[in-house]
């Protein structure tokens, strides 16, 4: 299968300060990939660079074979959507109107929804279980509901690549599983490429097709969950932090 999202010798960072260099990443169609790594290692920066929101310090990002840097903002918005961390303060905006904002790259200069746009919004809301929330404001929702809405907004954008920055943060266990399973379904049924950062190692190992590990002073490691455990890459990434991986069972334990 061809790579939907692809980076070549990518260096990411802020200003002149490189955070991570030599990133050769591939996310294929129909693949759910988890991005793991300790805090401050550059997961958010990588996701924002992949979405074209940050310019790469070196190298390039291609989506469907097209260099993201050469595309217009609107074209980029039709290729990559992103869910950021945190809950935006959207005031009175209803969930319905908020999700519909995801159609902006496809609507005309006035942002008016066509019948087709409306159908996409309705279908995505049905699928993400957000239809019942449509008249509520984002600030009145629980963290779990809020995350579902933000995922719905990204899916409405109908991009082949979807990026999510810690979509399971602040959620209880059932909601975490619900979000990742939703992403799994979307990846399979819509032939999308989805990359999300997370600290839920077990969730990533159990539900994702592949894992990308960001490591200090090294190029990111990439492979299947089984390989991540078997090769000791996972153990190494979290070395010295009191976590032990059991290679036989594929689970981890915390040392007292």
């Amino acid at each position: 299968m061809s790579a939907m999202l692809h980076t070549e010798d990518l260096t990411i960072g802020h200003g002149h300060q490189a955070v991570c260099a030599g990133i050769d990443l591939q996310v294929r169609t129909g693949e759910l990939v988890a991005l793991l790594g300790v805090n401050g290692i550059g997961k958010s920066t990588l996701l924002r660079t992949l979405a074209g929101l940050h310019a790469p310090l070196a190298g390039r990002v291609t989506v469907q074979g097209a260099d993201l840097a050469t595309r217009s903002a609107r074209d980029r918005a039709r290729l990559v959507s992103i869910v950021l961390t945190g809950r935006p303060d959207t005031g009175l905006l209803t969930v319905d109107a908020l999700v519909a904002l995801g159609r902006q790259p496809w609507t005309g200069p006035w942002g008016r929804l066509s019948a087709a746009d409306r159908a996409v919004v309705d279908a995505v809301m049905e699928r993400t279980g957000t239809t019942a929330l449509r008249t509520r404001a984002l600030r009145d929702l629980s963290d779990g509901e809020c995350q579902q809405v933000m995922v719905a907004r990204a899916l409405v954008q109908a991009t082949p690549v979807v990026l999510l920055d810690e979509p399971t943060a602040h959620l209880d266990l059932p909601n975490r599983v619900r979000i990742v399973r939703l992403l799994r379904t979307v990846v399979r049924e819509d032939a999308k490429a989805v990359l999300f950062s997370t600290h839920d190692v077990q969730l990533a190992l159990d539900l994702c097709d592949r894992i990308v590990l960001m490591r200090r002073l090294e190029r990111p490691w990439s492979g299947t969950p089984d390989e991540a455990i078997a090769s000791g890459a996972l153990e190494q990434a979290f070395a010295g932090s009191g976590i032990r991986f059991d290679r036989a069972s594929g689970t981890h334990r915390f040392l007292p």
Binding site: R48, A51, L53, S72, A73, R74, D75, R76, A77, R78, V80, S81, I82, L84, P88, D89, T90, G91, L92, L93, T94, A97, L98, L101, G102, Q104, P105, T107, P109, W110, G111, R112, A137, Q157
Partner: protein, 340 residues
């Protein structure tokens, strides 16, 4: 959606009704039938025709256009700065315009070369002052990036401008001082038909651009990063928004003085009415509401029963402040939208 359309139609009708009242009411009350005859040019009374066409029509049009423009500039600023307190009179933009006008009106006349009429010069000066402060606010916003600091900066700029203005005032002639003080109270009167295009054309242009901004402003409700990920050129949108609000607030301040409250309060009242912050609805509703409120305030200013006209700013504040307080304190959460 149907509900908002209802509001747009109702406010449109209200602004027409207020305008008709504005033509009829004044020191000389004129019956509506006579007003209509004067407008279409079949009135036999030359005085009535003059009053309606030369005095009241320009005033009502000025009030309507200025109200709509101030409301639109307030709404755009509140979304762009993600700050419910943003508005032309709060961020120091009116102060900048005032400083420009003060420089023109208060400095000795000999400083100015004859070919440019003072009035035209004061408009240019008000525009330059408004845009100058806006550029400063934008630069500050870049550096500090938080709403409260920005408001404090706006206040400080306002104090600075007021300080310079009071120094100018002490050194100026009594005649020019009176002119400036009257201008500072705000007024929709004193406009005549030949000069009207100088106000109407820039403001209409600003209102059109404000409508072009509806889509990116909606995206900005999610924050700048999300807006960018939706294909919005955030920097370009910001620049366009700032030019638009600068031209709107600057032109209106030049002609009508620093009209307080309408720019800040109207978008809040509009949100309370339509209970949404989607700009497709909020923009036209704010503009129409702004026109209605401005014409309404102007009616109060020159209602019959007292000798001299009331200062416009006293009326807008007397009406505006309680409304905003009511909106904020009425306990309805939808009214307390922290972002535009």
């Amino acid at each position: 959606m149907r509900r908002s359309l209802g509001w747009i139609v109702a406010l449109g009708a209200m602004s027409v009704a207020c305008a008709l009242l504005g033509l009829a009411i004044g020191p000389v009350p004129i019956p509506f039938a006579e007003v209509w005859r004067a407008l279409i040019g079949t009135s036999t009374d030359a005085d009535v025709t003059t009053i309606v066409r030369q005095v009241r029509l320009p005033e009502v049009l000025t009030a309507g256009v200025a109200g709509a423009g101030l409301a639109a500039s307030g709404l755009v600023m509140q979304t762009i700065f993600r700050n419910p307190l943003a508005g032309p009179s709060v961020l120091g933009i009116s102060s900048g315009a005032s400083l420009g006008v003060a420089l023109v009106l208060l400095l000795p006349p000999t400083l100015f070369v004859a070919p440019i009429p003072r009035e035209a010069l004061s408009i240019v000066a008000a525009l330059a002052g408004a845009l100058g402060v806006l550029v400063l606010i934008v630069l500050a916003d870049r550096r500090v990036g938080d709403g409260i600091t920005l408001l404090i900066i706006g206040l400080m700029v306002g104090y600075l401008c007021s300080a310079v203005i009071s120094v100018l005032q002490t050194a100026s002639l009594a005649q020019s001082l009176k002119g400036y003080v009257l201008w500072g109270m705000g007024s929709f009167a004193g406009m005549d038909l030949p000069r009207l295009p100088w106000l109407v054309v820039p403001v209409i242009a600003g209102l059109v651009v404000a409508h072009v901004l509806i889509k990116p402003l909606d995206a900005l409700l999610l924050g700048e990063t999300y807006a960018q990920s939706l294909g919005v050129h955030v920097l370009r949108t910001r620049r366009l928004a700032i030019w638009t609000t600068g031209v709107l607030a600057g032109t209106i301040t030049a002609f009508c003085g620093p009209v307080s409250f309408l720019g800040l309060a109207t978008p809040h009242i509009a949100r309370a009415l339509v209970r949404t912050n989607a700009h497709g609805v909020l923009m036209p509703v704010s503009m129409l509401l702004g026109a209605v409120l401005a014409i309404g305030c102007d009616l109060v200013v020159r209602a019959p029963g007292y000798a001299a006209a009331l200062p416009l700013n006293a009326v807008t504040s007397l009406l505006g402040a309680p409304v905003v307080l009511w909106v904020l304190l009425s306990g309805r959460r939808w009214a307390r939208s922290s972002t535009a």
